[in-house]
């Protein structure tokens, strides 16, 4: 894929991600107070759900008349930065593994492989739950959990980056470029990382970014279903899982179909951002 074909994806992905960050930044600290004028009622005046998209723009309300866009903004504030940091961490570790393979540093390569074996040995969710259990109350935010997830996801990224570097020729590739008179910085940063490892590194980083968002939704949903506080955010905030949870009531004939649509749209948006970054970094 040439640069002209990749650039639009970079712009789309970058803009949407920036939008997510800005949405998080604009999130209200607390939700609006309940407003029972903004709820759906049956013929007996009983509340049967929230108002839809068109009755209470932009995204309707929940059963208490609280606008759903406030929940969506708060959800964005929970996931935007930790998911990006987790993605960057995986990208950094994958870059390191690729460079080590090219630099032919045998002992460090072995250490990184051993690290991969150890961190990849257990089911990730089990490790995440144990970490969540051990985190002091003040640290029960998404970032530490996202970093643990990134650490656990990094062996696959490192393996793939190292394999890509290996296919490139490893140390022989670097030697060949040295013979052409290129500096070490240009060889490693431009020829190895930018031209050859970039597709793998960015794809893995985007995958982990998306996984962290989904992890947050899953953990918060499980906490909601268990009627317990989430490990990933303060009790004053609401995750996108709250929208999903509201939407589940739709099955019980509540007027909350718009919450399902909104939660699925946000999940699709996350997947689309990740896919845009993947396409933007695809190899020529």
């Amino acid at each position: 894929m040439n640069r002209a074909a990749r650039l639009p994806w970079l712009i789309i992905g970058g803009t949407l991600f920036l939008g997510l960050v800005i949405a998080g930044w604009m999130a209200p600290e607390f939700l609006s107070p309940p407003d029972l004028e903004k709820v759906a009622k049956d013929e007996f005046g009983q509340t049967v759900g929230g108002l839809g998209f068109f009755e209470a723009p932009p995204f309707g309300t929940n059963e208490y008349g609280i606008p759903l866009h406030e929940l969506a903004l708060q959800g964005a504030s929970i996931v935007a930065i930790p998911s990006a940091i987790a993605g960057l961490m995986v990208m950094a570790l994958a870059t390191l593994a690729g460079l080590v393979r090219c630099a032919d540093i045998g002992w460090l390569d072995t250490v990184l492989q051993a690290f991969g074996e150890i961190t990849g040995a257990l089911p990730r969710m089990v490790v995440v739950l144990v970490i969540a259990l051990l985190l002091p109350y003040d640290y029960k935010y998404l970032l530490p959990i996202a970093l643990v997830w990134a650490l656990l996801a990094s062996p696959a990224a490192m393996d793939e980056a190292a394999a890509s570097a290996g296919r490139l020729g490893g140390a022989r590739f670097v030697e060949a470029l040295r013979a052409h008179g290129f500096s070490a910085g240009r060889i490693y940063l431009y020829h190895v990382v930018w031209l050859n490892l970039r597709p793998v590194i960015v794809r893995q980083g985007a995958d982990v970014m998306m996984q962290v968002v989904f992890l947050e939704i899953a953990l918060s949903y499980l906490a909601l279903a268990s009627n317990a506080p989430s490990f990933t955010h303060a009790e004053s905030l609401n995750s996108w899982a709250e929208l999903l949870y509201l939407g589940y009531s739709w099955i019980l004939d509540r007027h909350l179909g718009h919450a399902v649509v909104l939660s699925l749209a946000l999940i699709a948006l996350t997947a689309f951002i990740a896919q845009s970054f993947r396409l933007a970094a695809r190899a020529r």
Binding site: T110, Q113, A114, E117, I118, G120, A121, L122, P123, R124, M125, V126, L129, V130, A132, L133, L134, P136, A156, Q211, F214, I217, A218, Y221, L222, A223, A225, S226, A228, A241, L244, Y248, I251, L264, I267, A271
Partner: protein, 309 residues
């Protein structure tokens, strides 16, 4: 690196894993601020914390607790629940939950193994990759919610045996396809075989009229087993979410409940079970790598004699 180094490291890691994981949790429990006994008996909420600590073996430090817990754990005694079902044996909960998780994981492996075999045989059309990738984007929690909704609508909130069976079957299927599991099985297997097919020995074998699979399989088997181990771990990870959302009383649900209630007795036992299973997977991979390596490195005497004859 010698060929036996990696399997050896895996063998050692497989044996150490079930020992190290509970040790780390125990160490972390004691490293946390406050007294571990205060989890069972919060200050101000109950009296006799010292007596309780002595009774639960929490009064003589982390090492003593770990050694005593591990000695009992190898005999199947996982101690008692701290808070979730305070005082009741964790073993009973483990025995009740493990079969559920085994069933869910077993069902999840069906699509994964099928995808692997079909991709290895070259029977999985590449055109379908977009379909698998699109399905794989769906997070397990969403698909599990659909399963839970379907079961609730069909059988009501209280369910029954048929509802439970449906939850296990559909929950397992969700694990087999969600989060890119099936797509990964197909594309991972295909990429391994495509790389191997480029090798000269496979091309020569093809010219001799032999099949790709028979020739390439011994060489790709370690990579395939490694991939399958990763997929089983992925399924186990997702099982926690699927079990809780679908209400399947498996090991994942037990671990989740233990985590919520800060029940270290349950969490230690559940993570011990998960790490023992992960260790067993690692052991299988190491042994199969050794077996394949010995098979590939066997003397070609018989082959040569056959060729000469």
């Amino acid at each position: 690196m010698k060929w036996w180094m990696r399997p050896l490291v895996r063998l050692i890691a497989a044996i150490l894993l079930p020992l190290v994981v509970p040790a780390l949790i125990t160490g972390a429990l004691w490293a946390l601020p406050g007294d571990p006994a205060s989890i069972i008996c919060p200050p101000g909420a109950c009296d006799g914390r010292d007596a309780l600590a002595a009774r639960w073996g929490l009064d003589q430090g982390a090492l003593h607790f770990y050694v005593e817990w591990m000695k009992k754990a190898v005999t199947g005694d996982f101690g008692r629940s701290w808070t979730l079902m305070a005082g009741s044996p964790v073993y009973d909960e483990m025995v009740a939950s493990i079969p559920w998780t085994a069933m869910v994981v077993g069902v999840a492996l069906v699509p994964l193994v099928l995808g692997t075999v079909l991709a290895a045989l070259g029977w999985m059309p590449k055109a379908l990759d977009y379909v698998w990738n699109a399905i794989g984007v769906a997070p397990a929690v969403i698909l599990a919610l659909l399963v839970a909704a379907y079961v609730t609508i069909t059988w009501g909130a209280f369910g029954g045996d048929t509802a439970d069976l449906t939850k296990v079957l559909l929950g397992g299927l969700v694990l087999g396809v969600a989060d890119g599991a099936f797509a990964g099985a197909v594309s991972g297997t295909r990429s391994v075989f495509e790389e191997e097919v480029k090798q000269r020995y496979v091309q020569i074998a093809l010219l001799r009229g032999e099949t790709v699979l028979a020739n390439a399989l011994p060489n790709v088997l370690p990579a395939m087993i490694g991939q399958m181990r990763g997929r089983v771990l992925h399924v186990l990870s997702g099982a926690v979410v699927v079990e809780v959302v679908c209400g399947i009383p498996g090991l994942g649900q037990l671990l989740w409940d233990g985590t919520l209630k800060q029940d270290f007795g349950v969490v230690l036992a559940a993570t011990f079970a998960f790490s023992a299973f992960s260790g067993a997977l690692m052991l299988t991979q190491a042994l199969s790598e050794i077996a394949v390596a010995l098979y590939v490195r066997r003397s070609p005497k018989g082959v040569l004699e056959e060729a000469v004859a």
